[in-house]
């Protein structure tokens, strides 16, 4: 009972932060710069609302809820892949040649993932169960995690000074790594109750972690960047500092 309350509290906290961040981003001057992040947040929020609606209408154990849950989960993983592509595009903003190469590479990876998943799906069509879908999601999550890590090292290699992008990428890394690890454990323990409860906690905790890191990156890092810029250009600072 307590674990259900904690899990629900984590999910509601996540929804609250998603909503607040979305409102903040649409009102801020940086909305174009963070269009991809905003779109992903909207997908997260919409998927949560659709799930809640179906859960209220049909119940936890209904096939309708199961279908909607796994469909939205699949769509979210695709959205995650597109988010990683968007980050790659931001990294290659001023390097057209590199972006052309990365674009082709990302396309190939996507085709490869779709191909492998389709083969796996056809081979396991009769055995389609929660366990199979968990493995399928685990693989997709892991692909995004690997791509995100490549992106992080690319940022390091290019010596990017975009602190905000670095933090956004780290947030995505936390979001992918936690669920991928817990899903792998779930698969290894053949769905034991411990692993099941671990998955149910890890996913909202990691989503919450990502949202908090994003909130810090979007709200705090941009604020401090404004302060530094004002100081460099000689404009009055937001906070005047006195010597002690």
């Amino acid at each position: 009972m307590d674990s259900i309350i904690i899990r629900d509290a984590l999910q509601y906290a996540g929804i609250l932060i998603e909503g607040c961040l979305l409102v903040y981003m649409t009102r801020s001057a940086q909305r174009r710069r963070h269009a991809g992040v905003g779109l992903y947040l909207f997908c997260l929020l919409a998927a949560g609302q659709v799930r809640a609606l179906i859960l209220r209408g049909y119940g936890w154990s209904s096939p309708q809820y199961s279908y909607v849950y796994w469909t939205t989960d699949f769509l979210l993983v695709v959205a995650s892949f597109l988010l990683v592509c968007y980050f790659f595009q931001r990294v290659c903003e001023h390097q057209e040649k590199m972006w052309r190469f990365v674009r082709v590479l990302l396309g190939l990876i996507f085709v490869l993932v779709v191909g492998v998943s389709a083969l796996s799906f056809l081979g396991n069509y009769a055995l389609l169960s929660n366990r199979y879908i968990a493995e399928f999601n685990q693989n997709l999550y892991f692909t995004c995690l690997v791509l995100n890590t490549m992106l992080y090292f690319m940022l390091q290699h290019l010596e990017s000074t975009d602190e905000q992008l670095g933090l956004l990428v780290c947030g995505v890394g936390i979001q992918f790594a936690g669920p991928a690890a817990s899903m792998a454990l779930y698969h290894l323990t053949t769905g034991e109750s411990f692993a099941r409860s671990l998955v149910s906690f890890t996913v909202p905790i990691c989503t919450l972690g990502m949202l908090l890191v994003w909130a810090y990156a979007i709200v705090r890092v941009s604020e401090s960047a404004v302060k530094v810029t004002r100081r460099r250009t000689g404009e009055p600072a937001l906070v005047e500092v006195t010597a002690d």
Binding site: T149, A177, A181, A184, K227
Partner: protein
Amino acid sequence: MIAAVVILILSTALFFFYFQVTCQKILGRQFDREYFQSIANANRLEFPSLRKSLEEFGAPVDYSRLRMMLRCDFLALTYLLKNAANVNQRYTNDERLLILYFRWQFVSLGLRRLLRLGENAAILRLTAVLQYFANVVGQRVNAVKFGNLTAADYLLNL
């Protein structure tokens, strides 16, 4: 089976990697000036001298004293973070994350000591967190003016 084991190991490692990188990025925040020294002086914190001795001589003081110093500094700074010139009287999310990071590094320090892996890197990371906390406290105290009191006077009267 093997793929799941590989994914489990790599994902767990990457989770901790991203957690650490996120904390390092927060710690890398630029302050308009170094506030930590005045805060350390006012509260007799020992982490700046510990850091200096580690950077200059490469070897810290004895281990049990080192742990005690870090722990005392951590307790003092977290108290100040919450209570010194903080209207909300609570930690921000990034401070909470760094408190968690400090605790994790503190455990890792003990493990490194036990396994004889060399604890200097962990000590430097711990002092970096303390320095960040002291900078935040200093910045807050300086942002709020308390009559003619300096940051050091204010903290001594707290």
